[in-house]
Each structure stands twice: as structure tokens, then as C-alpha cells.
Amino acid sequence: MKLDSKVPSGPLEEKWDRHLKDIKLLSPNNKRKHTVIVVGTGLAGASAAASLAELGYNVKSFCIQDSERRAHSIAAQGGINAAKNYPNDGDSIWRLFYDTIKGGDYRSREANVYRLAQVSNEIIDQAVAQGVPFAREYSGLLDNRSFGGAQVSRTFYARGQTGQQLLLGAYQAMMKMVHAGKIENHTRKEMLDLVVIDGKARGIITRDLVSGEMEKWTGDAVVLCTGGYGNVFYLSTNAKNANVTAAWRCHKRGATFANPCYVQIHPTCIPVSGDYQSKLTLMSESLRNDGRVWVPREKGDKRKPGSIPEHERFYYLEEKYPSFGNLVPRDVASRNAKIVTDEGMGVGATGKAVYLDFRDAIKRDGRDAIEAKYGNLFDMYENITGENPYKEPMRIFPAVHYTMGGLWVDYNLMSNVPGLFVAGEANFSDHGANRLGASALMQGLADGYFVIPYTIGNYIADTDLAAVDSNHNAFAEAVSNSKSQIDKLLNINGDKSVIHYHRELGKIMWDKVGISRSREGMSRAIEDIRALRDEFWQNVRVPGEANYYNKYLEFACRVADYFELAELMALDALQREESCGCHLREEYQSEEGEALRNDEEFSYVAAWEFLGVNGKLETTMHKEELEFEFVELKQRSYK
């Protein structure tokens, strides 16, 4: 299999414009004749559905939630980057591009990242016009703040609810097109399979989560916007229903899965309190603008934080990285939290936490100023922990947050299955081995508003799309596949719950395929995953039946897919014998514990092709070599 990135030729700055000039257009009359299926209604899905419908396509939209507005983009807190340079601090499209590619540790495709930076400004314009209430200065003009991995202030924000406001903007744009009759919207339906006919994506199978009915949907293209796979770790900051199933089923139908081992562990989350824990809560990294991260210098120091004098506090990020300090990228912050806690300097009941302290910021700016910036985050923290962060420092610890890997896509955001487009977190495209803060919202909306609507037109105009109907055998086969899996799960009737298996799988992944990874650990993880997967298929107990609302059945189908994905992640992490971004291999680090990249051998995208599962995952890796024409590869340094 040859993976062609289809990056246009020419200077970096001109690639996208040239591409737009070259791609084929469809007349409004013809757009009307085509149907596009959009799966998922987060930022990427809602913006793509709205924009495609505005162009005249017939859109069928699907989400698993009871309303499009509840997709997990809603929970993004901190902000969205754009190269507006309103603060006049030297920002530019080039600099946003450069920071993003450097932040991703040079493991992403130059041309895609440059385009992302280019369209970033239009996203802000679009959102403001929709009425997204971004933070403003007294002048009435838009305010910015700074975020990890950048030395300029380019982040637009709406209190600590930027994702919510941007998603509501996209959702409302989408509902406007539902009203106009151009989007047929379906909620509480889960995609269980992709239907490929004559080598092209021509439809999907969904399960109605209320009635349990299997349904067939035809289209001329499918846009998958179903988010990331962080929940393979069981505990993560993802919403409980976020899952990899739609993407994984596409993978099983031929779409290659790229860089599955790239998982971002967010440094500022509320620590785990007990076994019953169902998810982890993120505290926006914008808090690192004003909060100072520290641990007691002395191991096992159990004094109250307020009783520990200044010289006995180890502000480890400020000491080790004087120029970025508390604003180092997420991977660096997470790794250092693990280092200090592994050394026994961790705080709190479990010792698996570090302090994030606002004492000095409150002293400097006053409580009101801090409350205005972070009030809702402080309230959230107090609600969960029962502690007041205005008085005591927060306790934080890293948690799985975002997955940079995803289905492989070319420059047009089309997978290697013609007609299957992938946008937002579900693709692997823009963040390399690490994503910078406030870049996920940017990417989801860039893909949905400003990339997919053009590239899909080119595909449809250029492709022979004979009519298909849902009586085609491929649909029947897909339905019967999904049905038999469900029947199988319901009939095992073992004695351990789905949650039990998911939690156990998560432990394997966190211990061995988490913040730091070793050859030995991963080889063991692969064996453990296989053994647990076998046990799952023999001993899981799924309650109830298939023909009504059954949340644990939904979970069972998703966990079955995680069991396969988990093995792929470990395999991918094993073959990548270097450290880069969030992927830290213990064998490949400098004496100071910094990640050591190996550009000679590993400057490629690892795209995996699914072959089968037979006790073990059968898979083969294809490489897309990354070519850097415009940036010079450097060892990242935030010192």
C-alpha cells in the first residue's frame, strides 16, 4: 500500500491557495444531488455539517448523545489559538505554524500544519459573527491570553468554557441548516460499521440506542468526526461516552490507523481519589499562567502546604526551564510531575499529586482578578475535592487527555479509503507527537469549516459515484456482522462486568503504555492485553437485551474495540524506538531526562493496516516519510 499525502507542490505559503485554485468545483445544481454523511457533532462534525449544508449538499448527521450540543468538544476549557497578532507581540501565521510543528516534536506534516495556521484567523471571524461571546477588553475588542508552548498571547477564550461556546456556535449553525431542511439530524445513534462498495465509502450502519434497531444509511461520502480514543485508558478526561468504535470499525474496513501511540497526558487534572473513580477532571492549563507548580523539596514532607517555607519548596518547572517556566508544553509538564512523584516528593493522600499554587498571583493581582479569570475552574475544583483553592494550593496530577494519533488522512483529510474523510481529533493530521494547548479547538473548526467543505467537492466532482441503495449486499453483511457481535456479547453471561474489564485494561495501559514506556514493559503489556481480551470474550457479563436502551451493551461493544486498539497502541509504541513529544521511551532520553528524538530513522508516520484478530492482532505497518522542506529539525528546548 502506498500512502500518498497529496501535498501540493510549491512554497509552503502558497500550497493551500494553489490547491484551492486547482481543485474541482461542483455547481450548486450538482451539489444538491449528493449526500454526505457526517458522523459526530463536536466542533469538527457540527462545523462540517453546517458548512456542507450551506453549500447545498444533503447532509445526514449522526451523534450518540441525545443532542448534538453535548459532544465532548463542549468540555474544552482554555481557548483557541489564532495568528491574529492583536497584542502586537510578534505573532504571525509562520510563528503559529512553527510553534505547532515544534510543539508536535517534528512528527507532523508541514503542509497540513501550515494550512491550519493560515485558516486560524478565519475561525475567529466566523465564531465572533455567530455570537460566540469571547472575552473582551474594555475597548470592546477581543482579549488574548498565553498558553503552553508559545511565547506570544494568541489564545482567544470565553472564560473557562471556550469549547462550550464554540460548539454552541457550530451547533446553532447546524440547527439553522436543519431548519432549512438541508441537514437530516439523528441523535442517539451509534455508527457500528462503514460500508465500502467498489472500494469507496458509500454508507454506514448505525444502531439506534433507544430501540436497538440496526439501520442502513447511504451517501456519496462519509465524514468521520468521532473524536479520540483516550478512554482506552478507562480513566481519562474524556466524556464517558467518548469512544473509538466508529474509527476502529473504519480501520477494520481498510482505513489505516496512524501513530496510535501518541497520547497526550494533560498535566493539570484533579488526582484520583478511589477505585470507584469513573473519570478524571481537567483543570484548564490556562491556570499555569498564574499558578506556580511545586512540591516540597523533602521527600514525604506531610506538612500543610502553607507551613512549608519558600526555600523548602521545589518549583521544579521554573528551576529546570527558566524561559518557559510553568508554561512548558504539556508533555514536559506531565513527565516532570511523574519524575518528582516517583522520587517521593508527591503530595496528598496518595502521594500522586503536585501543588498548583495561586498564593503569589492572588497577592499580586488580588483575589477578584483571579476569580474573574478562573472563577468557574476554582469552583469546579472545590466541588470535587471539598477544598478551597483560594486558600490552599490545588493538587494536580497528569491524566490522559487527547490522542494525537488517529485515522491516516492525506492533505485533503481523506483516508486511504476513497470517500472516507476524517476530521478533528479522529484524524492524525496536525499535532504530531504532542498537541499544544488551545490547538484542538482550532483544528476541529479548521477541518470542519474551512477544509472539508472544499476537499469533499473535489472528490465528488472527480469520482464516478454510481447510485447505491441500501439493499446492496455490503449493507446486509455489515448489519449481520454488527448484530452477531452484539448477540455474542449478550450470550457470554460470565461473571465480571464490562466496567471491570475496562478498568483492568486501563491499568495495563496507564502502567505500561502511559507517561513513560519501555521495551520490556510494552512487550509485557501486549501479552497482558491479549490474555485479558481472551478473558473478556469468555467471561464478561452484559446485562439486558439488544432491543431497548442498554448503556452497558453500548459500553461492551466499545470495550471490545478498545481491546484491539490497545494492542495496536503498544505495538506502535514498541516499534518507535525513540522518544518524541508525548512518547517517552525510557531507553531514549538524555542524561537530564529529556526526550531524545531519532530523526534519521523515525521521521515517519506509522500507518497500520488491519489484517485480523486471531488471539493476537494481525497488522502491518506502512510508512509515510515526513519531509521537512521549510523548518529545520531541532531538539526541542524550553529551557
Binding site: 453535548r70 471571524d125 459573527a129 474594555y138 475597548s139 451547533y171 499529586a353 471539598g386
Partner: protein, 275 residues
């Protein structure tokens, strides 16, 4: 986890520190639950009682229900269905009515953010779905709130097409207006306002969207059509009218002010007269 006490000597005075706040006791509580069980929209529901004796104060309320479900599944019973997703108080999926109060006892807190430290050993907790004619029960505590989406569909947006937006800073918005708009825009669409209202009115939800967009210059061109269409849809869905009980504001997990309803009415009347 064992509570630890520390003695610290400061100058000559000996101070006994209080128990370290980060180390909390984790004694288990017994909680009695009365939960609404209903097979589907057509069947009749009933309350079932359950007792959990391993409830930890640090658990969230929904984690307590997870624990109950694990026990039910182990015993071969059907688990209790309830809606949830982000468990961070922002997606608006969860909407339980607890002891008669939407989202439970804690002010401005969605039920997913409610923790069991708000309850005591031996408490009885009654859990019901968010009931309203316009929110039919799907199963147990899960209800159909798609009526809210149809209200937004009727006009809860600014009709700007992708790509046609002017430069963002060409539309200055006074900071105060932007903040007021935000206060309305923060609605999470959970439906607690409807569940709490004696009339099952969706006025707070609808008013919040109208208030958000009307505060902004971007929302001006369509404001009359917006209020007329959204109010008409609200009525069509079977939500009641507002009689100023203000129960909605009291239970709103994000603190939407009832002034949203005043905004909506004012705009509605203006729109009626102008048209």
C-alpha cells in the same frame, strides 16, 4: 487512608496542626435509594428501593449509581439507566431529580458534580427523572429532551454562513454587554428548569438563548423573528407558560438569571407590536 496528625514547632510555641486537609477520612456510609424504574415510554413506572452500604464520601453521586449498577448486574438485574457524559458539569446530559429537587441539594451544581460528602450515613435519597409532558421518559431516569433542540432550530442562531464573516475586531462589543451575553450563553441545556417548574415551562432555556444573542450586535438583525419563532416552538412542544415561580433559577446549575425570561417577554412584546 489513615488520617495523619503533625506537630510543627514554630518559634517557642507548639502548634498542633489540624488534620491535613488533603488526607480525608473515607469511612463508608449506608445510603437508601428509592429510584424510579420504567421500562419504556409506554409502560408504567414505579419506585424501587435499594440499599448501598459502601458509599464513600468522595464519590460523586453518579459514581454511587455506577456502584449500584455493578451490584445489580452482578445479581442478574437490569441496571438503572440514566444520562451522563462529561461528568464535569458542562455537557448538560445528566438531569436527575433528587429528593424533589432537580440536580439535587447543592446550589449551582449539576448532579455529576455533586459528591456524596453532601449526604450522611443512613440518608434516604429519592431519584426521579426530569418529568415534563415535553420530556417523555425513554427508560428509568432517561428522558427525551429533543424539544430543546427544536426550539434552537426555530431561530436560536445568527444566520451567518461559513466564510462570510467580517474581521472579528470590526464588531466591538462593550465588555459589559459581552459579559451579560456570556451569562446567558452559559446555559448547558440540561432541562432542570423545566423539571423544576410547576408549569413545565421552558422559558428560562428559551430566554437564555434569546438573551445571549440579543445582547450582542451580531444578534440584532434577526432578533424579532428569533423571539417569535422560538416562543411559538416552545408552545408547540407542550411546555407551559411562565408564572414567575422562579423555581427554574433556583435549580439552574449554571445560575442563569430569571431576567432572561423578562428579556424574552420584552422582546416578544416589541416584536408583536412591530409586526
Amino acid at each position: 487512608m489513615i488520617p495523619v496528625r503533625h506537630a510543627v514547632t514554630a518559634s517557642t510555641e507548639k502548634i498542633i496542626q489540624p488534620i491535613e486537609p488533603t488526607i480525608m477520612s473515607s469511612s463508608d456510609m449506608t445510603i437508601h435509594l428509592k429510584i424510579w424504574r420504567q421500562k419504556n415510554a409506554e409502560s408504567k413506572g414505579r419506585f424501587e428501593t435499594y440499599t448501598l452500604d459502601n458509599v464513600n464520601e468522595h464519590m460523586s453521586f453518579l459514581e454511587m449509581l455506577d456502584v449500584l449498577n455493578e451490584e445489580l448486574i452482578e445479581n442478574g438485574d437490569d441496571p438503572v439507566e440514566f444520562d451522563y457524559d462529561c461528568r464535569e458539569g458542562i455537557c448538560g446530559s445528566c438531569n436527575l431529580v433528587i429528593n424533589g429537587r432537580a440536580h439535587g441539594p447543592k446550589h449551582m451544581t449539576a448532579v455529576c458534580q455533586l459528591h456524596m460528602r453532601n449526604y450522611s450515613d443512613g440518608d434516604t435519597v429519592v431519584i426521579e427523572p426530569a418529568r415534563a409532558a415535553a420530556f417523555p421518559v425513554i427508560k428509568d431516569l432517561v428522558v427525551d429532551r429533543s424539544a430543546f433542540d427544536r426550539i434552537i432550530e426555530a431561530g436560536g442562531y445568527v444566520s451567518v454562513k461559513t466564510g462570510s464573516a467580517p474581521e472579528a475586531n470590526l464588531i466591538p462589543v462593550p465588555q459589559k454587554k459581552a459579559n451579560q451575553a456570556f451569562d446567558y450563553a452559559t446555559c448547558i441545556g440540561c432541562g432542570a428548569c423545566v423539571a423544576a417548574c410547576p408549569n413545565s415551562s421552558a422559558s428560562l432555556f428559551t430566554g437564555a438563548k434569546i438573551g445571549h444573542l440579543n445582547k450582542l450586535p451580531q444578534g440584532q438583525p434577526e432578533k424579532q423573528q428569533r423571539v417569535l419563532s422560538m416562543v411559538a416552538q416552545m408552545e408547540k412542544e407542550g411546555f407551559g407558560d411562565c408564572s414567575n415561580y422562579a423555581e427554574c433559577e433556583a435549580v439552574c446549575p449554571v445560575g442563569i438569571s430569571i431576567s432572561a425570561i423578562a428579556e424574552m417577554r420584552r422582546e416578544y412584546l416589541k416584536a408583536l407590536f412591530d409586526n
